[in-house]
Symmetry: C2
Amino acid sequence: MPLPQSLLDQLGAVFGERLSTAHAVREQHGKDESHFPPCPPEAVVFALNTAEVSAAVKICAAHGVAVIAFGTGTSLEGHVAALKGGICIDVSGMNAVLTVRPEDLDVTVQPGVTRKQLNEYLRDSGLFFPIDPGADASLGGMAATRASGTNAVRYGTMRDNVLSLEVVLPDGRVIRTARRARKSSAGYDLTRLFVGSEGTLGIITEVTLRLHGIPEAISAAVCPFPSVEAAVQTVILTIQSGIPVARIEFMDDLMVEAVNRYSKTTHQVAPTLFFEFHGSDAGVREQAERVQAIAADFGARQFQWATGTEDRTRLWVARHNAYYAGVALRPGCRAWTTDTCVPISRLAECLLETKEDLATSSLISTVVGHVGDGNFHVMLLVDPDRPEEIAEAETLNRRIVRRALAMDGTCTGEHGVGHGKMEFLEEEFGEALDVMRRIKTAIDPAGIMNPGKIVV
Amino acid sequence: MPLPQSLLDQLGAVFGERLSTAHAVREQHGKDESHFPPCPPEAVVFALNTAEVSAAVKICAAHGVAVIAFGTGTSLEGHVAALKGGICIDVSGMNAVLTVRPEDLDVTVQPGVTRKQLNEYLRDSGLFFPIDPGADASLGGMAATRASGTNAVRYGTMRDNVLSLEVVLPDGRVIRTARRARKSSAGYDLTRLFVGSEGTLGIITEVTLRLHGIPEAISAAVCPFPSVEAAVQTVILTIQSGIPVARIEFMDDLMVEAVNRYSKTTHQVAPTLFFEFHGSDAGVREQAERVQAIAADFGARQFQWATGTEDRTRLWVARHNAYYAGVALRPGCRAWTTDTCVPISRLAECLLETKEDLATSSLISTVVGHVGDGNFHVMLLVDPDRPEEIAEAETLNRRIVRRALAMDGTCTGEHGVGHGKMEFLEEEFGEALDVMRRIKTAIDPAGIMNPGKIVV
């Protein structure tokens, strides 16, 4: 369906050369890092400020044309796919850190600022922003997908760390969801409603985030285990003991091997936990001793410590590149990534049964997880040109999701719904899904905001 | 407007003698602890389970009659006032602790369970529920008002500690807002939408809460200061230093005097901070030393320690009774309580300017606050039969709220909107208030759920 010329004319008047219908630009904006085939928008505008986003949305609304926001394109459930065509608003150029307020431990950024950029900016302030999904995602995108990652077990997710949002509504009006006070009981929690709404209710144009003091002491450790179960039981007991570990990450043996190859590391190939401890010198020592004792009880062979900044950076860069390391196991493949999250008491059962499924599959697969939250990812490596592999991955994914739901878990711990997880929401939410539909219809009655995602 | 007989017949068929139209019962259910005049419902039903709540809501919906939930009646903004008449559903009899899951650090309770009852129940488990608004409120009510209180500076508010809710919708359907996983990116955050919705979108019939391990060590201290400013600057620097203090509470000198009288304590009459520290033995010592050093820099005269359980209990009981102690300063009066919350950097300015206002007022007033969050309450003691006193309290309240809004704060940190704070939402939210209205209309199109609260 070609775009009406009046729409292009109006967008052109606002964006000039920052409006593009070039094939390559459209292709790039129609795909994320998932296995889903690209689905390009009909045009892309590169917005530089809130007024431009609002203008673009108003023009699209007047024409009944779909609007999709784009940050870094690192989402994993087809969030940016233009399923109904329409206009992509690329906000990556809205990348200014607007105000840092060290005295309030908060910061306001434009949505295109990435997490690494923010932490680089904060470098000399003694503060940092902890949420770390691996990819150097934009903070607007992270808010939109309710992202979390390796530090969530201690610092929470985007849900807990967004104080306030500026949002362009589907009719182009600009709202602010909350004041900057640390807590409020004033009305419905619009901040939390837009966090995780994946562009289906509006476009985030400013994000106010909580910051945290850089801990006095940080230490990290790598700990291989004799079995997956021993590793997972260590995690469970650590969490149940209330030890405020900052990171507790699992990799299965193949994932460790993949990381060694990709990042030139030399970790022992075994089911492995990666830990990080934050606190005072004494506090970090205390936490580490307690965790070591638990791990030893489950037969852990050794703790390799990384206390220097460089060692730690190398370790976490390797962990962060796990996704790319996994994909590199099979050249030309795409990764189909699951994202279930279950109550911690069910984690061992869930992970072990899943490993049994994987053992019987013909697909190469690895497991990596933010296990302190009960969240893990299976990466299924598929050849996108082989429908039988896609079908097998689909079947496995469904089985893994249904298992998590049966354990009172969720189909997605941190990646979001996009169009990839929509089929599971009925099962996860039952009648509550109707409440989501009503909210969608109330805020976006014409259905122009990122259509075909979360609810239809 | 008398209730239709068919409504009473249908409710009678479900509730039998647990349906009451007695004057005393209605009066009791039409008032909370605020200064607002009572506004009784036309009948009260005492529900014992979710099915009964659902049945009552369906019957009311069929008749277009208002429905108001009632827990302990300890709210402070007229939340339970039956402004449009209708039926009050008293859920205080739904007071079973349904499932404690120590291995997942969570619990599911019926909405009438109070916070003290839950902690009593958990006594031997090594776990506790930290949110503590002072009053022994019901957990359903605390979720509905997004309550917090003295521990929020460390443990967060009800927003952060509710994992999932069961809710009866305005048409009587029963939904569950989320699974029990610690995090999820599956769709709109319905849990956070219903937390703080004050019965205007549905009635909470089950609450699943996060629990926390009882800290290995706890110590508390009382610290009088030479001035309000010295106390507040100590708070600000403590928070900015990232010291994970569990409680940091302020009382002005008159409040301390009132508490001494009411609770037979002997605290020095001065602007005072009450601290509590949670952690390991070493951690608590470390935190306390750091805070003591900060306080000394601002001229604090002494730290009175309470490390024994009994001493601490006495101390916090006195703090919790501050509301009643304040009211007792003037027999026969009612308390008009403000609830602003501002970014911590503005706290000193906000509190000192407010104290200047109070100094010029003819009303007796005290100040008490969860200052670590930037939240404080002014208690204005008014004779409900003297319109000129009500008018003066109204004027002061407006001035205090507008000051907080001008500092990027909120009109209510923890009490909620009820009908008492509605006039400020336009100023606090602007166009965002329209989004709240749309949500209300989408979920409760007939407007029968606690009408006249939050948005109309």
